[in-house]
Amino acid sequence: MFDKMIYLDNSASTRLDEKVMDAMKPYYFDTYAVATSEFGYSMGIDAKEGLEAARGIIATSLGASAEEIVFTSGETESSNMAIKGVVAALKKKKGEHIIVSKLEDFAVLNTAKNLEKQGYSVDYISVDAEGILDLEELKSKIRDDTALVSIQHANQEIGTLQDLDAIAKICKEKDVLFHTDATHSYTRVPIDVSTTPVDLISMSAHTIHGPRGVGALYIRKGTPINKWMDGGYQETDRRAGLENIPGAVGFAKAVELVTEKETEFLTSLRDYTIERVFEEIPHVTLNGSKTQRTPQNANITFHYVEGESMTLHLDMRGFAVSTGSACFSRSLEASHVILGIGGDHERAHGSIRFTFGRYNSKEDVDAVVDAIKEIVSQLRAISPLYNK
């Protein structure tokens, strides 16, 4: 039924790669034992080997060692674990202050808000008009009682990339732990923990054609972190709960399948989209940075029209995109990201996010730009704000 659907919402989630499915299958049908059964029967040993091989692949991709990787259920769990685990460990030693950016995804943002309600103090660092963090403000907000700084690597909506090196070095100098949510950059924009002194990294499989419900947290050796979810002793007693071995294996396969060539191709789709829109449609604004941007993200505001109307028209023509419009969100609030970069409701109202993946082509871009060109002019014709 969706044969002709052109899916351009790859930061929401991606289509699974068949090769990932093939890698996962044996761990559902043949080697389905749990890893902790290794002393009981040989299938447990095979399962554990599969899990550890996957761990090794994730570790290598970051320049980390295998014991620094903990598998989780995804970005949300990884970020909860990093923040709640570290603040609990440092409550008495350091204090009850944390720092995040204003553009964080909900996993970090709502964790911070929850801690605030429990009596922690939280500083939300501003960003400039492109979404780039104010490093001076960050420096000035770090205190003696700061337990953790959590700043995303790449933004989920506007694709802005932070200077991870610079942030990590500031934190290192001030002797504060640094967590980054790298869900939207992982494998597309390299991170090397042997040169960048970041302490914790959240990752997710589903944004790179891997399975849903699996992710990982990198924890630098020696980082004080409490277990935040009680249960069994899995993942060297750092994360309770049955290991998702097929998921971990699929995640590792997805990581292996990402190539530099493919990332360059996504960058070309992104640039071509922006180029065509700016050449052919008047009254548009690029949200985010031209240069410090993830390869897969183009986010553009089409002024004088509303985002949900655009996405519905696009949907009826077989395209899937998303918007930062309040009308699209479940909380009826405009995107905190667009408001955070100094945009107003109007800017969020007409914003469309195109995010590209493995199964997109240049033809897809041509088709969606052709469609949106017509849709925007049709909607502007009925807009009271547009001067006809």
Binding site: Y304, E308, L312, C327, L332, E333, H345, A348, H349, P384
Partner: protein
Amino acid sequence: MKFPYTEKVLEHFKNPRNVGKMENPDGKGLEGSPACGDMVAVYLQVNPDTQIIEDIKFESYGCASNIATASIITELAKGKTLEEAKKISWQEATEELGGLPPVKAHCSVLAVEGLRAAIRDYEEKHGLVSEQEPTTPDVLRSRLKHVMNPMAGLDIIRTELVTKMEINDGVVRILIDLPSNHQFAANIKEEVMEKIESLWDVKEVNVVFTE
């Protein structure tokens, strides 16, 4: 393909009726909600003798529900007298459209308010409005009937989200039975402020959440 709207909503969204700007309208209403961002303009041409709406047009800077409701409302209002048209409610419009998702109710309310604003504009221009009345709890109540509870798709008065309304020397205090960190708290607050602040004798509005 599957859509979150009825076929009638989609039909009006795709082919909105009575759309466009009207030159020299007899009455014009522009309503917008900063919380949602949607805006709607309604233009009227009224027969001064019969008070019948002879022509009506709308423009929308809004989502699908907003466009579809504005479209159906122009159909409902055309040919009616001003008094009859005033009685068109968003419930009626929503029913006519075969229903809307509850969370979208406020977008459709905006279209109804656009029509009412246009009628009020006509009445003001033609000396049909009486003296300004002081704001009473009843006035507050009728205003707040236009603020939607997005969980229910009904207004916050009817769903008993408003537990207290006070007015003292132009200072209004509205108590809402929701925690301040509720998913819709910020949105409801903004809409309440917007509806009350514009009253001529109101100096200050305080929206207080429980907890």
